[in-house]
Each structure stands twice: as C-alpha cells, then as structure tokens.
Amino acid sequence: MLLNQFLFLAAALFCIGVYGVMARRNAVMVLMSIELILNAVNINLVAFSTFLRDPSGSVFALFVIAVAAAEVGVGLALVLMLFRNKKSIDIDDVDLLKG
C-alpha cells in the first residue's frame, strides 16, 4: 500500500478546504470548506491506522465525524440566525466585532 497517495490526497483536500474558508463569502460554503478540512484529517487518520495496523486511528476518525456533525449543526443554526437578522449570509457583512 502506498501511504503517500493518501497523504497527497489529504493535503490537497486540506488546501482546497483552507482556500474555501478564506475565499468564499457564502457562510454555508465556508462551513462546507471546514468539512473538507476535517475530512482531510480523517483521511490521514484512517490511512495511518491501516498502515500501522492500529485501530485507534480509525476510532479517532469516527469521533471526528461525530464531532463534525455536531459542529455543522451548530454552524447551520448560526447561519440561519444570521439570515433571519440580516437577510444575508454573506460573512463580509458580519463585522460587529470590528475594533
């Protein structure tokens, strides 16, 4: 098995995710990009788990998936509230904490 390929895939996904988080103005798209980052990490975990024949990495990936689900729930709720208050989900519009 070639570990490298999985690592490259994960790195690519991670970079796409980071780009999405920083470049997208739609809040839902930002959340989705975060999912990409998390899943890039999951790929790394599973890949190493299989490579090292240690199941704890896979278990950890399962935890990450569960936590990511919860995070998305909270994130989408935030977006929904944002939309109700501002009639927009453009995160450039949300700068109430400007110093």
Partner: protein
C-alpha cells in the same frame, strides 16, 4: 541526687507558680465566683509553701552532709573572683601567673568533688579546706546552689572552654576529683539570669509563702464582697511571685526587678480603696518615697558592679570581691551607702520611714503581709545578702559605730516613741514595725548577722499575727482602727484576744516567746560587737525595748481591756480568720527556740548540741561570707536587764492605761510643759512630713515648675517648631521632585503607552472572520515551518 536537693536547683518554680496564678486570676477571675478565684491563689501559695518546705529539707541535708559540693545547673558559668576565693585558703587564692596546669591540679586536689549537673560549665569554687590543713578541718563550707542561664556574655568564651576540657581530663585521671576550673578570662563579662538557694533564701521562701498562705485564707472573709476582689487576689499573687523572685535571685540586677515589682504591688494594694483621697495619697506617698531610696539602690548596684571588676552582677561574685585583699575600700563604702539608700526607703528606716504608717490605708491582710512581714524586710534581706559588701565597706569588724548601725538605732527609738501617741491601732503596729526593722538593720550594722536575720524571721510571725489580730478586731468593731472606740474586747473575742496577747508578749520580748530570743541576741550582738562593742547601739536597743513594752501594753489595754467604748456588740471573727491567728501565734511562741543559744550554764548545758543554734547552723552562709566573725554569746545579764526593764515599763503603762485609766497621777501631763512640747513633736511625727511636703516640696516645686516651663518654651517648643518647619520643607521638596517629577511621570507614561499600543492593535480587529482565519492559518504555517526547520 534526691528530690529535696533537686528542689534547690529548681526554686525558680516558686515565683513561676505564683506568676501563673496571677495571670490566671487576671484572665478568668472575673468569671469565677469569689471563693473560686481566691482558691486559685490559695492553692498556688499552698503548693509554693510545700515546695519551700521541701527545699528547706534539701538545704538542711546539704549542710549536714560532709561532701556538699557545688550544685549548679543552667548554662551560665560562674566566674571565680578576681583575686580568688577565701583569703584564708591560700591554695584557692593562688596567683594565676604562678601556676599553669600544675597549680590548677593542685587546687583541684585541694577541693572536694563538686557535683555539676547537666551540661553546664559551672565553675563555682568550693573553698572547703583540704584534709591536710588539720586546723581547718572543723570549718565546713557549704556553697549555695546556683541555677543560672547566661543572658549574654562579653569577651571570648573560647579560651575558657578549652581550659575546662583540660581540667576535666586531669580530673578523670585523678580518679576521685572531677573538677571544673574557673575561666581565666577576667575581662569577660558574664550576665546571667539565675537563681540561688542557700539557707537565707530558703528561710525567706518559707516565711513569705507561709504568711502569704495565711493572708490569702484570712482575706477570704476579710475582703468578702469587696469591690475589687479579683484585683486584690491578683495583686496578692503578683506580690508573692515578685517577693519569691526577689529572694531567690542570684544577682543584683534581678533583685532590682523583684524589688521594684514588690514596690508596685505595695502601691497597688495600699491604694486598693482609692475612692478615698487619703488612700490614693498614701499609695502615692509610698511609691514616691520609695523612688527616692531606689535612686540610691540603683547607684549602689552600679557602683558595686564596677567595683568588682565590671564582670558580673552575681551576689557571690560581689561578696567575694568585697572579701578579697585587693578590694577597693572606698568604692565598697560608697556602694554600701548607696545600697543603704534603698534599704532606708524600703525598710522604713529613718528618715524615709514616713510612708510606712500611711501605708496602713491598705487592707489589713495586706499590711500584715507586705508592710510588716515580708516586703519591708526586703531591705534587711538586701544587706544580709550582700553582707560582705557592707561588712567590708563599713568596716563593721573594727568600728564601734557606723552609719547603718546608727540609722538602725535611731529608727528603733524614733519609731517606738512615735508609737506612743498614735490613736489608731494599725498605726501603733506600723510604728512598731519601723522600730523592729530598725532592730534588724542595727543588728546587721553591728555585725550580728544571724541575730538580725533571726529577728526578721520571728518578727514576721508575731507582727503578722498582731496585724491580722488588729484586722479581726476591726472586723468586729465596724471597720474602725480607732482605739478610742474599742476597749473590753477580751470579753467578746477570746481567740483574737489570746493570740494578740501572746504576739504582744513576743513583740515586747518576754521569755520564752520568739521575740525574746531574737531581740536578746541583737542586744548581745550590740553589746559584744566584733572587735569593739557597739555601746551606743546597745543603749538605743535597750531604750527601744523599754518603749516597745510600754506602747504595746498601752495599745493592748486600750483595745482589749476596760469597757467597750464603741457602739453595737462586737463579735468574734469566723474560723477562717482566727485559725491563721492561732497558727501565727504558735509560730510566735515556738520559733524562738530555733536558735536556742548555746551556754555552759546548767541546766542548759545539758541540751544536746543538735538542738542549739540550729538557725545559725543552717541559715548563716558559710560561703562568700566574712570569715573572722564573732557570734554574740548569750548573756544572762543582758537578758535579765531587758526583761526587768520591760516588765517595769509594762507596769508603768499599766498604771497609766490600766484600770485607773484617766485617773493616774500622770494623766494630763501631755498638756503640761515641758512634756507638751515633746508630745507635740511626736504627734507631728518629728515634723518630717512638714519638712518633706511644706519645706522641701513647696520650695522646690515652684522652681521646678518654672524651670520646666522655661525648658518647655525655650527648648522643647523650638525643637517641635523646628521639626515642623523641617518637615514642611522636606514635604515640599518631596512633592516637587519625587512625587511630581518621578512617580507621576512613570504613572502617566504607563497610561500613554497602553493607549498608544491599543490604538495600534485595534487595526487588526476588523471583525472579518475570514481575515482572522487567514491570520490563524498564516500563523499555523509559520509555526509548522518553525517545527520542521528547528525541531
């Protein structure tokens, strides 16, 4: 070492117990019932009494045992005096320069084995004569038991320690003789906190604790329901503690502390009922008069300290210095006279006795304890304790007159004469106390040490009995001491009457009461003297004895005989007051026999030696004490003379104050010239109070006040104003340069700095989430680079 001897090393327990009792009564006394707080004091004193009996037993054992060596404990070293111990024992006084180790070893062999307790480096020289000195074999010296801790030390103690270890090695090689050698470091000052037990101390411990115990018990009833009951019992405990501390001190500094503490208690208890101005005035008078004498005392302590090489305040050291050949006679004389200033005020000697009669304003049990039996003899004790200083300083041995003896003699007669004109029973007893204290001082002044101390001992019992008896009488007669309102009390109060009578006989000095033996010994001492007889003192003493017999008979008749002149019906006091009277009365009868004189005359020559002169045997010091010392012999002629004269004067007083009171041929003579003049002088107490208050005080107080005002206006005020000006200028300077210049600038700068940095950093806070994310990821990348490159 058995329990009793052990007790001698631990006499500090006694003052400590009483101090504890004082603190407890002060702290919890208010919350206890009256009887409870009294019980704390009573139990503590009773414990002390038992312990002092134990220590007395220990001391008698020690005197009787042949090999009484040095017992010392604590950490202080006692230094051998500069020129060695007793001049008589040449080996001890061997010059230091002559011998090295050999001389030390020789000296070690010549001494009996000292018994050194604990880790102490005690080096009391035991100057017991060696066996080879056949002539000296009889002389047996018992050093006191010392228990001292070094307070601080001046000089280098190292050399001394090395010497001692050498000496120890020699001693163990010698087998029988363990020896600690005194340090050869004469320049070292050794200031110790210590306790000293010898016969004199133990005698005082017993006297103080016994009378204090009886007074505590007596006060249960006498001060029943008093306004300041807690205060009273607390002060009694403090007084007992201070007195025990005073008599067991090993050095003059500590004695000074005890001396002042008993003075304080005296002040507090004289003014016990301070609501009446007379009482607080009396307390102040006592305190201030004593201050006058205390100046002399402090000077005396300082002078004797420096005279004896400025190395130690230890009384043995001072005494040994006084006895050494190189002692400075002039310094000793000045020191002794200064010390005698303290004695004059505390022990009521002429002319500073004026406070003592006024001190009768205090409660009667206090008068018995403090102003008759114990505190006022502190001065006598001081002379007895530092006797070598007085003996050598005043040259008692070769003189036939000296200052101490003369003052004692004047006090004997002066006090006794004043007692005649008093109408207050307690005042009679107070002047009688002054007169008796005069006897003691006179005895010490003429060289009759044992007689003086013995009189101190016996006087404590019969005078305490008389005072407590007077208190009992007052208790019966609505708290008055005016003899005009008494009379005929023998019918109402049998126990008080009989005990008072016996104590009166003891005070007069009739055979076989205690006063007879002690007073007779004093008179014999004065008559025989040392090298020459002190004839003048003997005359004073005999005249004093005649007056004593007369004024006591007068007081006795006015109080107990004739018809009752007061109102109401007097009643006998309860048991709690009469039992102490009976016990003291028993002492007044029995204790004279403690020093039963040894005579060759039949049938007394049959007395075994173990029964005669016990007091002299056990109490008189044999260590650091004048050696060539003549003890007065019992003289039938003197005893007979004083007895006959006393009886005659009693009969004369009977003529005057007896059944024919008011009808005697002498009646009214006090109004006739020339007797009226003397009467007036006596009533006015020799005008001493007038001299002190109206002449000395009046003429000095204005001047002193003006001087004080001048000092205030011209010295203190400018100083205060100057200090204010300086403070204001300094404040202005500090405001301008330190506060405004430095501190404020720092504060402002810190504010500005945080403001500027905030302005700078607020630009980062854009509120745009994605910018934060960019910063976050950028930081993460930088951190990752750092990790990869450097870790």
């Amino acid at each position: 070492m058995d329990l009793a001897t052990n007790m001698l090393t631990k006499i500090w327990i006694l003052p400590a117990v009483m101090a504890g009792s004082f603190v407890v009564i002060l702290l919890v006394g208010k919350r206890l019932p009256e009887r409870g707080r009294a019980m704390i004091g009573i139990v503590a004193v009773a414990l002390c009494f038992v312990l002092s009996l134990l220590s007395a037993f220990g001391w008698t054992q020690r005197v009787d045992s042949e090999d009484a060596g040095v017992v010392a404990c604590g950490s202080a070293r006692y230094q051998e005096p500069i020129v060695g111990g007793m001049a008589e024992h040449g080996d001890v006084g061997a010059p230091k320069s002559e011998g090295g180790a050999e001389a030390d070893a020789e000296a070690a062999a010549a001494r009996t084995a000292p018994l050194v307790v604990g880790e102490s480096a005690a080096a009391l020289p035991t100057s017991v004569a060696a066996e080879e000195e056949g002539a000296e074999e009889e002389h047996h010296s018992t050093p006191p038991v010392m228990c001292a801790w070094t307070w601080f030390e001046i000089g280098t103690p190292g050399a001394a320690v090395a010497q001692e270890s050498d000496a120890h090695a020699e001693g163990s090689a010698d087998g029988d003789h363990a020896e600690t050698v005194s340090a050869d470091n004469q320049a070292n000052g050794l200031f110790e906190f210590g306790f000293l037990a010898d016969g004199l101390t133990v005698m005082m411990l017993i006297t103080v604790t016994f009378i204090s115990l009886l007074v505590h018990i007596y006060s249960l009833e006498y001060l029943h329901g008093d306004v300041r009951h807690t205060h009273y019992y607390a002060f009694l405990s403090l007084f007992t503690s201070a007195m025990l501390f005073y008599v067991s001190s090993s050095n003059t500094l500590q004695m000074l502390v005890g001396w002042e503490l008993v003075g304080l208690c005296s002040f507090g208890l004289i003014g016990h009922w301070w609501e009446e101005k007379d009482n607080s005035d009396a307390a102040l008078k006592a305190f201030l008069t004593n201050r006058v004498g205390d100046v002399g005392l402090i000077l005396g302590v300082i002078i004797t300290f420096f005279a004896a090489g400025a190395t130690s305040f230890n009384v043995l050291h001072l005494n040994e210095y006084a006895l050494s050949d190189g002692a400075n006679q002039a310094l000793l004389l000045v020191g002794a006279l200064c010390l005698f200033g303290g004695v004059t005020s505390k022990s009521g000697q002429f002319p500073l006795h004026t406070w003592l009669p006024d001190a009768m304003a205090g409660p009667t049990p206090v008068s018995a304890l403090i102003h008759a039996a114990t505190m006022v003899v502190a001065g006598v004790y001081l002379i007895a304790r530092l006797y070598a200083v007085f003996f050598e300083g005043l040259n008692i041995q070769y003189n036939s007159i000296n200052y101490v003896a003369v003052i004692g003699g004047i006090t004997v007669l002066g006090g006794a004469l004043l007692a005649f004109v008093q109408t207050d029973l307690k005042k009679v007893l107070a002047y009688s106390t002054i007169s008796q204290l005069g006897y003691m001082v006179m005895a010490l002044g003429v060289g009759a040490w044992t007689a003086g101390v013995f009189h101190l001992f016996t006087h404590a019992f019969f005078k305490a009995c008389l005072f407590l008896g007077a208190g009992s009488v007052a208790h019966a007669c609505h708290h008055t001491f005016e003899m005009g309102k008494m009379g005929g009390l023998h019918k109402y109060m049998k126990t008080t009457y009989w005990t008072f009578t016996i104590a009166t006989l003891a005070l007069i000095g009739l055979f076989p009461m205690a006063g007879f033996w002690s007073k007779d010994e004093i008179l014999a001492g004065a008559a025989q003297g040392q090298d020459q007889s002190y004839t003048l003192m003997f005359v004073f003493g005999v005249l004093g004895a005649i007056c004593t017999a007369a004024y006591m008979t007068r007081a006795w008749f006015l109080t107990f005989r004739g018809e009752y002149r007061g109102h109401g019906t007097p009643h006998e006091s309860p048991k709690v007051m009469t039992v102490p009277l009976v016990l003291l009365c028993a002492g007044a009868v029995a204790f004279g026999f403690l020093n039963f004189p040894f005579t060759d005359t039949f049938p007394f020559s049959l007395m075994p030696e173990g029964l005669t002169l016990r007091f002299e045997h056990y109490v008189e010091p044999t260590f650091a004490f004048p050696e060539e010392f003549a003890h007065p012999k019992f003289d039938w002629r003197i005893a007979l003379l004083t007895t006959v004269l006393a009886v005659v004067s009693m009969l004369a007083a009977y003529q005057f104050y007896g059944p024919r009171f008011g009808r005697s041929p002498f009646h009214g003579w006090s109004k006739k010239q020339p007797f009226a003049f003397f009467y007036k002088v006596l009533v006015n107490k020799y005008y001493l109070d007038v001299l002190y208050t109206d002449i000395i005080v009046r003429h000095t107080k204005g001047a002193v006040a003006r001087a004080a005002y001048w000092v205030n206006m011209h010295i203190i005020d400018p100083v205060v104003v100057g200090a204010g000006v300086v403070a204001r200028v300094a404040g202005g300077f500090v405001y301008k340069f330190v506060d405004q210049g430095a501190i404020d600038r720092v504060v402002n700068a810190s504010g500005t700095a945080s403001d500027e940095s905030g302005q700078l950093l607020r630009r980062v806070q854009t509120g745009k989430v994605q910018q934060y994310a960019a910063l976050f990821f950028g930081g993460a990348i930088l951190f990752a680079f750092f990790l990869v490159l450097f870790v």
